[in-house]
Amino acid sequence: MLKDITLGQYFPGKSPLHTMDPRMKLLLTIFYIVILFFAKSVYAFAWMLLSTFVLILCSGLSFKLLIKGVKPIFFILLFTGVINLFFTKDTQDPLFSFWIFIVYPKGVYTAIFMIVRILCLVLGSSLLLTYTTTPRALTDAIERLLSPLNLLNIPVYDFAMMMSLALRFIPTLLEDTVKIMNAQKARGADFESGSLIKRAKALLPVLIPLLVTAFRRSNDLAVAMECRCYMGGKGRTRMKQLRLHASDLLAALLFLAFGAALFSCNYIPTGIRL
């Protein structure tokens, strides 16, 4: 069960999105997210949808997989839709009303657009970042983008190292958790039934050993790293260099074009006001 979490997981592949420089992906994701919030008209939202669709095609990932990844936010989408549907006020006549729930045309449009925006946000950033970029590449990208901070004596590399170590140990610590839970279940621990307080208390025999294990691992790891001459980021070279390619710059241009198009869409007159 714990292994089925697809939101945030990496799916190997060779698509254009997979091979793009991770720094570019990171920057473009931020750009993409910001741009999405500027969409204000129907055409802009349609354009948004289309672009996300293009991103999906560029990733080479199956729709089935993506739908699975979207499942966790289904309730957020539903909730957002419902709130906007029933509580958006307008000056026009309502479509229908029931008790305190009044639905205006604007409500319908807003609901749809909100849902579309969240969907595109989640899908877009997942496709650009987590699904097609290994955690290691991501931390590399973050580290290199932040490297100018080294001049201010901020240990950027050490933070990146901490992040990538955390990523490396997530599967291992998950295994540890399962083992500890099994051991305590074998001694009569019950994690499923009882009040919330009872269940929280039942977790103590899992959390404490887990913490102890995590500390032990990190202690051993620190010693092992020292033995391999870890000295922080100073003087470090890399086996894999990140180099920007023409394709990365092309991607950047395309995204800029997308952003410009989105803006322009806002000015195309439509009958639907948001």
Binding site: T134, P135, R136, M161, S164, L165, L167, R168, P171, T172, E175, R216, R217, D220, L221, V223, A224, M225, E226, C227, R228, C229, Y230, M231, G235, R236, T237, R238, M239, K240, Q241
Partner: protein, 283 residues
């Protein structure tokens, strides 16, 4: 200089020991020659792992000196050189792997040392070849078995280009297959790659593979010599909590019984040797 590791009258104690407790390492002097394969044998708590950590500068002696290729471990500016010279492989395979991908983990040490990019690639590939893990270069650590993880850890040390490798109970957490893989690799490293090997263990079958066995108990060296000689001291070995491999034990008991004068002075280190000796007495 022929001696690569040297302990001179070393004393060490861990902090927050009870008042009555003894020192972990008590006045130990030991020299390890370049290219040799030495096993340090002792039960848990004997001080063998402490000694290993002293040799690498992880722990510093309270008294006495530890010299690695002439360098004193208490000289902080020498520590990086010391660790480049003497690599260490630990007991827990997982707690040595830092990266999410095998080849990136092996590259860790050379990257730390500022080795030029293309040379890192060469070192990583060579190291993975030596341990036989080249085809797993793109795997994630948690997908590997214990023996495979340890081999990756060894590769990570090899990529530093050390002359000597200390194995601190590196097989204790592995299944028999994993243990065999590692012992094979260690033998190869000593015979072919000509590395000095120090094997810290409580398994006598493993110690039997070394040229020289140093037996340690309660922080002091009890026996030191070639494996055949050391294994003859069965009573002493038993008294300090070790046990002979079955083949050695059988021959030793037969010799002691007095019924087999032909076995006088003979020791079997492996099952093959035991079979040969038994063959001669049964025919």
């Amino acid at each position: 200089m022929n001696v690569i590791l040297e302990a001179q009258n070393v004393v060490f104690a861990y902090e927050n020991e009870d008042v009555e407790a003894r020192n972990a390492v008590e006045n130990v002097s030991l020299s390890i020659e370049r290219g040799s394969f030495v096993a340090i044998l002792g039960q848990n708590g004997s001080g063998k792992s402490t000694l290993a950590k002293l040799f690498n500068g992880i722990l510093l002696p309270l008294e006495g000196k530890i010299l690695v290729d002439g360098m004193d471990t208490t000289h902080e500016d020498q520590l990086i050189n010391i660790r480049k010279r003497v690599g260490m492989v630990f007991q827990n395979p997982d707690n040595q792997l830092v990266a999410t991908v095998v080849e990136e983990d092996v590259a860790f040490a050379p990257e730390n040392l500022g080795v030029p990019t293309n040379e890192i690639r060469l070192r990583v590939d060579k190291a993975l070849d030596v341990v036989g893990m080249r085809e797993y270069a793109h795997h994630a650590p948690h997908q590997l078995s214990g023996g495979q993880k340890q081999r990756v850890a060894i590769a990570g040390i090899l990529a530093m280009g050390p002359e000597c490798i200390i194995f601190d109970e590196s097989t204790a957490m592995l299944d028999p297959r994993g243990r065999e893989e590692i012992m094979e690799t260690i033998r190869h490293l000593n015979r072919v790659e000509q590395k000095t090997i120090v094997l810290i263990t409580h398994y006598m079958e493993e110690a039997a593979l070394a040229d020289r066995v140093v037996v340690i108990h309660d922080g002091t060296i009890r026996l030191d010599g070639k494996s055949e000689e050391v294994f003859r001291h069965q009573n002493e070995l038993y008294s300090i909590g070790l046990s002979l491999p079955q083949a050695t034990d059988l021959i030793a008991r037969l010799e002691e019984s007095g019924l087999y004068p032909e076995l006088q002075g003979k020791t079997a280190l492996t099952e093959e040797e035991a079979a040969v000796l038994l063959e001669s007495i049964l025919k």
